[in-house]
Symmetry: C2
Subunit: 348 residues, 2 copies
DNA sequence: TAAAAAGTGTATAACGTACTACACGGATTC
DNA sequence: GAATCCGTGTAGTACGTTATACACTTTTTA
């Protein structure tokens, strides 16, 4: 039994004994709580260091905080999500919290299950990226645990939210294409089965497209393809466009990944971009900037949105009660896939 | 005080009371432990359902398992990591475990800190993706918690590992380029500062390149650029190559992202690929398959590697003691960025 | 100078679950 | 017919930490 120092992890009781104080005192020092003298603090911290003490989050979680927050994400493959996550992570790191990423998979059920599991695992708070479900459901959730909703529109007095102004972003793209001379602009939309939540980014973006078209007097040219925001969805949309007699001069996909799919379909068919058809996306994921792609898109600064979300969440964890709803203004990133159309296909 | 049912989450004590049995019995049912009759099992499970009981992982973690494992990843932006993670996730889901992704940031310190934090958070096991550090360190870690090392070479009797045969993969690329007629093949290497671990993928790949060149009698043409496997590192390497008097006819970057950087530099300089210079990467990340890029690379089936790692980890958690070291054979994915060189720059 | 307040430390009861020991009845073994 | 074993259930403690309640000093206030 002489291997006690090797075999067991030191606890706060060990620390207190080593420092010659009560465990309550040691706990206070650990938490930075009120009621410790500078000498006590120094003494206990020295003992913690000497023993290599590390608090056990499971045990802390039963009475207080775990100093752990999570971000629920449907899919890690989405580069934009990665940016958001990185933003949250940096803010958490700054405040000595740990961020864990929870890949839920797609669908509302999967997301809900993950959220429950995270509550079971005593997270101090959670960030939800473009969650499905109603405001009421999210508000119910917010009663149980601090919540920040990222990338979903609509303010709530019950939980914090951070979203880009997708309406303005879609406007930027249409304005850009119209200013280049385009009039036939097709939009590739994302349709979620079942849910039809006006607060999801996809719904706001398509409204932004419609609004801008009407504003430019192009209401008759409005053309929306109902698809999925994935590589495959984009390719199908591209093929659909090519199968038509009258092709648009520009395609605006509401998401970069879908725009890649459109590009792929066009390239495969030998259509030159932007000479024959211009293409624009949304999100400014990293790949859009690669030289051979160089795609026109909209940047919503995922890094900033993420760190804002992180800050809001930790404020909530710290006790703030009033909701904060933050909005970020996106900017257009014009690149090589958009240019003036070769021949005007105007009407009238 | 009439809101007791609303205000508090049910515990296993509540379940036991509701079912009219002891908490020990309820716990047995929950864990599926030995010593419960079918009637008891049914009764307790009915009570759990009726109360909406959910076990608290923090509390479980203090005595037994949390049914949670984590994968430590330096950077979520790496598409290949995402593939690995997805593979692990699927296997965990199959076995009713939860996978959380721990973004550590780059560098050994950051990684080590994250691992400690995960142990503090009572993970049942962890997967490390291409970890830095020595075998001894990893073995020390494996004594504390079940560990599977992913994407790092070298078998150990102390922990499980899953790796692609990077040596063979690099051979495939060189063989391919040589068979097309290339003789001047430059390799873009990744040099980690400080560490020089022969078991890291980058070290094995560069050895594979050197070996294949010698095997083809091209020992004198060996040309290695010390760089970083990032977009920037690739671009710098590309510019370096262009600044030379004698340019290679092919560039092999040990990582797709770096290969993108090389492509970017070449495109910016107006060099036609593959007409003037062929380019090949490694990993077969999704973007390589996009039509305008269509890059030759090597696929190591991240999904399979991930699910294998997940399976091994959960076996370890379940009690297996002997180490399992698994290796995956990669395959060449020839695409549009590699072709026969226009003019032979042979020697002698 | 007495009373109140502020500062500093301690004892100890939770928190929710797991699991070792053990008790009890019935079936099996010798 | 006693001894053993097996199946099933329970009591109660341990896990590591937090936080409430309180005791004792010292400082401030009236």
């Amino acid at each position: 039994m002489s291997r006690s120092s090797v075999t067991k992890r030191p606890t706060i009781v060990d620390v207190a004994a080593h420092a010659g104080v009560s465990t309550a005192a040691a706990s206070k020092v650990l938490r930075g709580a009120y009621g410790v003298s500078p000498e006590m603090k120094a003494k206990v911290q020295a003992s913690m260091k000497a023993l290599g003490y590390r608090p056990l989050a499971s045990a802390r979680g039963m009475r207080g905080r775990t100093y752990t927050v999570a971000v629920v994400v449907a899919d890690l493959h989405n580069e934009f999500s990665s940016l958001l996550v990185e933003g949250i992570r940096r803010e958490c790191e700054r405040q000595k919290y740990r961020l864990l990423v929870a890949p839920a998979g797609s669908g509302k059920d999967a997301q809900d299950r993950m959220v429950e599991d995270l509550i079971d695992r005593a997270m101090d708070g959670i960030v939800l990226i473009s969650p499905l479900g109603t405001d009421a459901e999210l508000e119910e959730l917010a009663k149980k645990i601090p919540v920040v909703v990222l990338g979903r529109h609509g303010a709530s007095p019950e939980f914090d939210s951070v979203a880009a102004d997708d309406f303005a972003g879609a406007n930027l793209v249409v304005d850009h294409l119209v200013s280049l001379g385009h009039r036939q602009i097709t939009y590739v939309n994302h349709t979620t089965t079942g849910t039809n939540d006006a607060r999801l980014p996809e719904e706001v973006r398509v409204r932004g497209y419609v609004d801008a078209m009407i504003r430019h007097g192009l209401g008759d040219a409005i053309d929306i393809i109902q698809s999925q925001w994935s590589q495959e969805g984009g390719e199908e949309s591209g093929r659909l466009i090519l199968s038509r007699k009258e092709r648009p001069t520009a395609v605006f996909a509401g998401c970069d990944v879908a725009a890649f799919g459109v590009l792929t379909a066009l390239w495969n068919a030998g259509i030159r971009v932007p000479d024959e058809i211009s293409v624009a996306g949304f999100d400014n994921i990293f790949t859009t900037s690669l030289a051979p792609i160089s795609m026109t898109t909209v940047d919503q600064s995922g890094l900033n949105m993420g760190s804002t979300a992180g800050r809001l969440l930790l404020e909530r964890v710290g006790g703030r009660a009033e909701a904060v709803n933050s909005s970020v203004l996106p900017v257009l990133v014009p690149r090589g896939t958009s240019a003036a159309p070769l021949l005007e296909v105007g009407k009238g």
